[in-house]
């Protein structure tokens, strides 16, 4: 086999392997291994597996559900599939101060385990930021909001 032929055989083989690999990945071939978090509904579905095992649950902090006790460091809130979830919300207990962006209506991913009581005991509370990037509105503008913005 001449070296040019050999190179082109390798080219076709490499492209084929790459295409097949990408196809398998995009069709969900490794989906199970890349499940980063379960939603509250999925936690309910997998209730037997969720108790005792370390899992992540992602969802939205429900309105009027946040209770933070600075003296005991007890943080309690409810996570639902969406901003208003009446079917499958799960109550989360954590022993840490809420992160700065934490608030009602924001997306969170909590790491921990389900308890027999049907609540989630979180070791870690992570806050999700949406893809929205907005200048502060007047109501929440910090005192030092840059006056130069108008100059653009």
């Amino acid at each position: 086999m001449s070296s040019a032929t050999q190179r082109r055989v390798f080219l076709v083989a490499a492209l084929l392997v790459a295409a097949v690999a990408l196809g398998v990945i995009s069709m969900g071939g490794i989906g199970e291994n890349l499940v980063y978090f379960w939603t509250p509904a999925q936690v309910h579905e997998n209730a037997s597996k969720a108790v005792g095992a370390t899992i992540r649950m992602g969802g939205v902090v429900q309105a009027d559900s946040v209770d933070w006790q600075p003296d005991t460091q007890a943080l309690t809130f409810t996570v639902g599939e969406s901003a208003v979830d009446t079917a499958t919300p799960i109550t989360v207990h954590a022993q840490s101060a809420p992160p700065q962006m934490f608030r009602e209506g924001i997306g969170v991913v909590v790491e921990g385990t389900m308890t027999d009581a049907g609540t989630f005991r979180a070791d870690k509370v992570m806050v999700k930021h949406s893809n929205e990037y907005r200048a502060p509105t007047d109501g929440m503008a910090p005192a030092d909001l840059y006056a130069t913005v108008e100059e653009l």
């Binding site: 080219l11 980063y36 930021h129 200048a135 502060p136 909001l145």
Partner: protein
């Protein structure tokens, strides 16, 4: 440094750095803080251009690798190396920037989110391509291995890009014009263009460096890997070490 490739490369680097610096300046000192992330949100203007540039240079590497295998031309081999190395440097920077950004916003330095995991795989995969290249002495074999490995590693590029769409993730979706105030879009666009031009310049310089190395290697193929002039100690005597000197 009379080579046109080196001169064009340097011009691109200088122009790209000026544009990147301008975009960063606007992002840091003129644009407003972000409504939720505050000043920390300004990391956007360095992180997103780095990500775009990294993925684009891996695309360039992919095309160069195909050319390299098809034609066997040494220039494609050097260009593949240049694009892979610049992309890899940018991907490592991307991971560091992201980690720094994640701590105050997400409340963690690192998590095995699909976007983060696939990005780490990207850095590792192309890092391996560069390492492998160093370990093969025979030029034709090295050219073929580099190109094949680049094509295989490239599979992860679309996976990184679509990871936030395919799987549930902590990392946000890609921003759009609608999801970003125009006052933030301007410094982002300027910095992204600057990073792309700067990266292109760095890639051209790295390609030239590789071409020089390959030409030198072809001129003197009989040189042993550890050439005698590199030895600092006296070959006839013992093996003096730093310990003995102190």
């Amino acid at each position: 440094m009379k080579s046109p490739l080196a001169i064009v490369g340097l011009i691109f680097v200088v122009l790209g750095m000026l544009a990147t610096a301008a975009g960063h300046w606007i992002g840091l000192f003129v644009a407003p803080p972000e409504a939720m992330m505050g000043d920390v949100g300004r990391i956007l203007y360095v992180h997103v251009p780095t990500a775009w540039a990294a993925l684009i240079f891996f695309m360039v590497a992919f095309v160069a690798a195909i050319g390299s295998l098809w034609s066997g031309w040494r220039g494609f081999d050097a260009a593949t190396t240049g694009a892979v190395e610049v992309g890899t440097v940018l991907t490592f920077l991307l991971l560091i920037q992201g980690s720094i950004w994640a701590r105050p916003t997400w409340n963690t330095w690192w998590t095995w989110d699909p976007r983060l995991t696939t990005s780490a795989v990207l850095a590792a995969a192309f890092g391996v391509v560069l390492l492998m290249r160093r370990l093969i002495d025979q030029p034709a074999k090295r050219q073929m291995a580099t190109a094949v490995a680049t094509i295989i590693a490239f599979v992860d590029v679309p996976v990184v890009y679509f990871s936030v769409k395919w799987w549930a993730s902590l990392h946000q979706q890609a921003s759009t014009r609608a999801s970003m105030d125009s006052v933030m879009g301007l410094p982002l666009g300027v910095a992204a263009l600057g990073m792309l031009v700067m990266g292109t310049g760095l890639m051209l310089l790295r390609t030239k460096v590789e071409l020089v190395r390959l030409a030198h290697e072809a001129d003197a193929p009989e040189l042993p890997p550890t050439a005698a002039p590199l030895r600092l100690d006296d070959p006839a005597g013992g093996d003096p070490t730093l310990d003995e000197a102190t």
